[in-house]
Symmetry: C2
Subunit: 414 residues, 2 copies
Amino acid sequence: MLFSKSFISTLREDPKYAECASHRLMIKASLLFMVSSGIYAYLPFGFKILKKIENIIRKRMNEEGAHELYMSALQPLDIWEKTGRTKDLEEVLIKFKDRKGRDLCLGPTHEEEITEIVKRYIFSYKQLPLILYQIQTKFRDEPRPRFGLIRSCEFIMKDAYSFDADGSGLDLSYEKMFGAYNKIFNDCGLEFITVEADPGAMGGSLSHEFMVPAQIGEDKLFLCSECNKYFNKAGKCKICKKRLAEKKMIEVGHVFKLGTKYSTAQGAYFLNHRGTRCPLIMGCYGIGVSRLISAIIEQNHDTKGIIWPKNVSGFQVSLLILERENESLFKQALSLYQILTNAGYDVLFDERFEPAGVKFNDAYLIGSPYIIIIGKRYLRENRFELEVRKTKMKLNFNKDELLNFLEKEYEINR
Amino acid sequence: MLFSKSFISTLREDPKYAECASHRLMIKASLLFMVSSGIYAYLPFGFKILKKIENIIRKRMNEEGAHELYMSALQPLDIWEKTGRTKDLEEVLIKFKDRKGRDLCLGPTHEEEITEIVKRYIFSYKQLPLILYQIQTKFRDEPRPRFGLIRSCEFIMKDAYSFDADGSGLDLSYEKMFGAYNKIFNDCGLEFITVEADPGAMGGSLSHEFMVPAQIGEDKLFLCSECNKYFNKAGKCKICKKRLAEKKMIEVGHVFKLGTKYSTAQGAYFLNHRGTRCPLIMGCYGIGVSRLISAIIEQNHDTKGIIWPKNVSGFQVSLLILERENESLFKQALSLYQILTNAGYDVLFDERFEPAGVKFNDAYLIGSPYIIIIGKRYLRENRFELEVRKTKMKLNFNKDELLNFLEKEYEINR
């Protein structure tokens, strides 16, 4: 991608409404556009990141045999009345009547709809176990939209639902999803922990949250710095009795053993191997996809900008030409850009007629893991400088050394 | 994909509410689930088709240098008041107030929102031309939902927007999109025509519709069977004076030269090469993505089921084993399944313990372009039968011949 042809347009000034680093950086690096409070559009750079994260999730879900589908955003309110959750979620549910008087809502989650679907297709234990998932926009009438994508009225979720014939089946599905979530958050370059949590309005017997430590976290955990263990409640460590320190956390994933709450209320039964009619045993598994982008940036930035983990960066490499007006240098830079592109790298080539300072500032803000700098020195020495965005380490390479270096760095990720 | 592990679950009975062939077949082949009138969920098989079509569109849009983004479904009503379109679209706009009294709507289209975005990022003719697009769910308070995905309350659109410095720039962007649309509908295996149309509520100077002839079409055109030309109005052919015949059409795409209607109303200006402040010259370009699935099926089916064009089929090949209980035959079939899968084909392997009749019926309904049949004869002769879904032609191959045949058939498409 040539910078001059991209829609990337960085801002010099901090947006006044931004309440935290990730929000500020997403606006400044033109990932996001605020349409209205709590409502955002993903600009092309943000869309690229979103797709990378979605594809990481897809890969890990498909590995576990889950099937992707795509449910509706509009839902008839009557399916929510079967489970009584119109009341539980009253404060955030966006409801309205259509012109024919039909009561509709915008789905903040899809347990009711998936149960309606599955009860029409699953009749026998032979069709189980089953895991279905989708990546889709959800809606909440959010009283206090905050921190950009962390708490917004419209957001993207990955929600999966498992269906099993018995408790041990559910245990296995839960374990599969738990394992997939660990891989997904690792792939995203996140430092995270898992904690047992209260199932709350979702219902069921057991749930775990996946939590990312961050200054702007809205959930609280308590850390024993001695044992390096987290606890749900304040006080002293149960192991070493040391006083626990409060830590703020962003919830990025939540998995639940739902049991039969929804299948019983909505009549989703199957015949077991003895021919007995039983309610489906369910689990549900959510990831806040848009929120994940915020969490990644909260954990991976410095004063100059974003520092993308390799797997989720919009571009694998930023290439800067320092003296654009030097035509023979430009030819060399263009040739390198083509070599890298042909080798399969996603390169952002900053070929604008801008001062070196502007280009460096933008490259740091945009946050590609590796920045290749080609200046006049290249014409004498045939060598590039490469800066590692995270460590600030500067390396000096000829063309072959550069290609070898990148191949090694991206080996696992391509 | 093993049939027994897929979520594909065909229905024997015709759903009573289905009003046309595509609707009926999409329900029977488990592409779609009706959540409520005019509201559908895409089941895994339908989702697969949807992704194929989306990727055809993406490829052709990206080839023209268009950038993909993802705008919000929720839109503040005040941006619609700037252009006066709250009135024009009053009958289909889904509007509501959130808990803080903010007036919101669910976007049936995104001219207003894209104009708000672009006016914040585009300042100079140097940033033009620009084409932005998205593939996204849109909403209409549809008075008469009909024909499944043809006319629904929630549907998926590809909408693109071009921004140019002058009329000749717009002409060029329009031509690019026009060309891309021709390629997209060709890739989808559609028979289609283009006609000049009335810009209507969209505004602007020129528009063209992409129309697919089909029994259930809701638009009317008039054909001269002598000249093979279509006209907007009934009567006689302008060329040969023969009486025109009425033809029903499904609109699958619509492109508009908008001009400055939105940029003037919303204040989206740029500085031209003389330093003069001018409104951006806009075009917009829509494809009904979900409706396209219906149109493809309307044109490609028979009494037994769907006949997918090669590029959009969920599976490139269906593989049927006729005697599943024969273990040595099953081993051979499984080996062929693995060979085909490793060669990169998307294969649906029907390995259920079901009678041959059930498997054939399902294969015809599901509609993969090629059906490979492996029966007892294979153990004697080492030969498979291959049935071409569209022509019903039956061919007889050994393994190498089969691979050569498929390679040739899918050459362009892989």
